[in-house]
């Protein structure tokens, strides 16, 4: 990576643009071929069992619907704590991800557990609200006890080349994630790659978000298609790898949206292992944003332990 990108501090937009545009372009065909080659990797028996449990521990169990109710969030929290009622050895998931107004419900349901409460904020999913409103949204979620904040970037500003605005807003959100009484809420920055113009943009947005202080970079809101394609995830993994090499800080990656099957999840884990290595094979640095994925993981796990394929009738619909 160019030194200018690795060492900047609070630069102006011209410098930002020059630095980000100086990032090498993504070899799209190469990325695609790499993903396709890794997708053929086969993970079986005991390795598969361990991978499934790891994937369960990485899940951000998500409900982001207009029709969400406190009851639904409590049910989701119960499932997060003990994903399979008939198999107590299944580990809890990483976090429950809800809208800001439902954070208090989730916090109450998950108190005393290892499961985090993630809240989307900053006028998710579009982010088209005045900055003050977006910051107020974030403050409310943090004050209610959210341990993780999933913010969206201003894609409009990014696409018009106003990187400075995007950068400043991430910094501003990061400031309101701070808590006087303890750990700041972890900041995940959603790039919404489905709305960016190609892989080069994904690479630039990743570096921009990491420089602005993101703890995680996240592919998508789940409201736009395409969401987390393996190609985009690979580009982002390369970005966090190079960023650590340049700055020493390790940033996490969270693909979200469109990951529905165990096979998808395992392919993601293979991508992580082969791109950034085992340092990232940990819920602190890699998450899977999903809702329906968990049931498929549980069904595959049941197949491994009982020898028979299970059916969706045996798992709660969330």
């Amino acid at each position: 990576m160019p030194d200018t990108v690795a060492t900047w501090t609070a630069p102006g937009n011209a410098v930002l643009r020059a630095s980000l545009d100086a990032l090498p372009g993504v070899d799209e065909a190469g990325v695609h071929a790499r993903v396709a080659a890794l997708a053929t990797r086969s993970v079986k028996t005991s390795a598969k069992a361990r991978a499934i449990d790891l994937a369960v521990r990485m899940v951000d169990l998500t409900t982001l619907e207009g029709a969400d109710t406190p009851g639904k969030v409590r049910a989701l929290a119960a499932k997060a704590l003990r994903p399979d009622a008939s198999a107590p050895d299944v580990p809890p998931v990483a976090a429950v991800c809800v809208y800001p107004d439902l954070v208090p419900v989730a916090v109450r349901a998950l108190r005393g557990s290892t499961v985090g409460v993630a809240s989307v904020a900053t006028s998710f999913p579009a982010g088209r609200a005045p900055l003050e409103a977006r910051l107020a949204d974030t403050r409310a979620a943090v004050a209610s006890g959210a341990t993780e904040i999933d913010m969206v970037i201003d894609r409009g500003a990014f696409l018009t080349g106003d990187y400075r605005k995007v950068y400043d807003e991430i910094v501003a959100v990061r400031e309101v994630c701070a808590r006087s009484d303890g750990e700041p809420a972890h900041l995940k920055v959603i790039l919404e790659t489905g709305e960016l113009a190609g892989h080069d943009d994904v690479r630039r947005a990743s570096w921009l978000a990491m420089h602005a202080g993101a703890d995680f970079i996240k592919t998508s809101t789940g409201k736009v298609s395409p969401a987390a394609t393996p190609d985009v995830t690979l580009v982002m993994l390369q970005a966090v790898r190079d960023f650590r090499a340049a700055t020493g800080r390790q940033v996490g990656v969270k693909p979200a949206g469109g990951i529905r099957t165990t096979k998808d999840a395992l392919r993601n884990l293979v991508l992580v292992e082969e791109t950034v290595g085992a340092d990232w094979l940990d819920p602190r640095f890699f998450r899977l944003g999903a809702s329906s994925l968990l049931n498929d993981l549980l069904m595959q796990r049941a197949k491994l332990t009982t020898g028979t394929y299970s059916g969706p009738d045996h798992y709660s619909a969330d």
């Binding site: 020898g307 028979t308 394929y309 299970s310 059916g311 969706p312 009738d313 045996h314």
Partner: protein, 296 residues
């Protein structure tokens, strides 16, 4: 016409275009997930083609497709299901020669006998198309109860049925076990005859063009013993028709018991040419009974 034929014959060395016989899962024709295939021979030992060799994973994919198709298929009106079954008969009728050829190849019977089998198979779809909107009247009804209640029972489809098609009647036998299962709103995962799978693949081509929603019928070819245990023990399979399971039947029934799956045992050698009656409809129905208080 003859000119045309001559013209074609004159083209030197035209290469034949043989068909790839694939699986039928979720309305698509995929190759086996395993990438394997199995040679199919005629009774006289002549090589016919390669058929896809389905794996356990293909069986699982087929169950997923059948499960997804079940609720909407069961929710169709009985009349509409009847129309679609009739449409399957129409599509088979239009491919009569194709089917007859497949039966001749598969069984080594004379052409007229194969044509009779095709006719009987077409008629079998018509037969069950007629049953779709009559099953409820024949098998359901009002029950007399000693109390101020209306009490009525109605048959409902069981769900996803794994059908082991007969080994020795690859078309007529297949249609005779498949049609009654889907007529009442079940969806099916069919394991085609192991020795003669090609007519089943030709049938899949007719099904795919006959308004039958994707996933209602899924057809697997290959070795029955490869996929049967996975299907029998699968928790999301609600019933098994073991007609063509042969020596595997007892083991499969035992595996099915662990996941509370209904089983239709293979009976004494069935006569596929006879009129079938209700014997293959009722095993794949559940009875729903509703109590309703009367008076004020």
């Amino acid at each position: 016409m003859s000119d045309h034929t001559t013209a074609q014959d004159a083209v030197p060395g035209r290469l034949p275009v043989p068909k790839t016989y694939k699986l039928y899962v979720g309305g698509a024709f995929p190759r086996s997930e395993s990438g394997r295939s199995i040679p199919v021979t005629a009774p006289d030992g002549r090589h016919l083609a390669h058929a896809a060799l389905a794996s356990r994973k293909d069986a699982r994919d087929a169950v997923v497709a059948a499960r997804a198709a079940f609720a909407p298929w069961a929710a169709r009106t009985a009349f509409n299901r009847g129309q679609i079954l009739y449409r399957i008969a129409e599509m088979m009728e239009g491919r009569r020669d194709h089917f007859a050829g497949a039966v001749v190849d598969a069984l080594g019977v004379p052409r007229p006998r194969a044509e009779e089998a095709v006719d009987a198979a077409v008629d079998r779809w018509i037969h069950y198309a007629g049953w779709t909107d009559k099953v409820a009247q024949v098998l359901g009804g009002a029950n007399p109860v000693s109390g101020p209640f209306d009490n009525a029972s109605a048959p409902e489809p069981t769900g996803v049925v794994a059908v082991f098609a007969p080994q020795d009647a690859p078309l007529l036998g297949l249609v005779s076990v498949l049609a009654p299962v889907i007529a009442t709103g079940n969806t099916a995962v069919v394991v085609a005859s192991e020795s003669a799978p090609l007519p089943a693949v030709v049938l899949a081509e007719a099904l795919a063009t006959s308004d039958l929603p994707s996933g209602v019928v899924n057809i697997l070819t290959g070795r029955t013993a490869d996929v049967a245990p996975a299907l029998a023990a699968h928790e999301d399979v609600d019933a098994l028709d073991l007609t063509g399971a042969g020596a595997l039947a007892a083991d499969l029934e035992r595996a099915a018991a662990t996941t509370l799956t209904r089983v239709l045992r293979p009976g004494p050698r069935p006569d596929w040419w006879a009129l079938p009656g209700l014997g293959r409809i009722t095993p794949f129905l559940e009875t729903k009974t509703v109590w309703q208080s009367v008076g004020r």
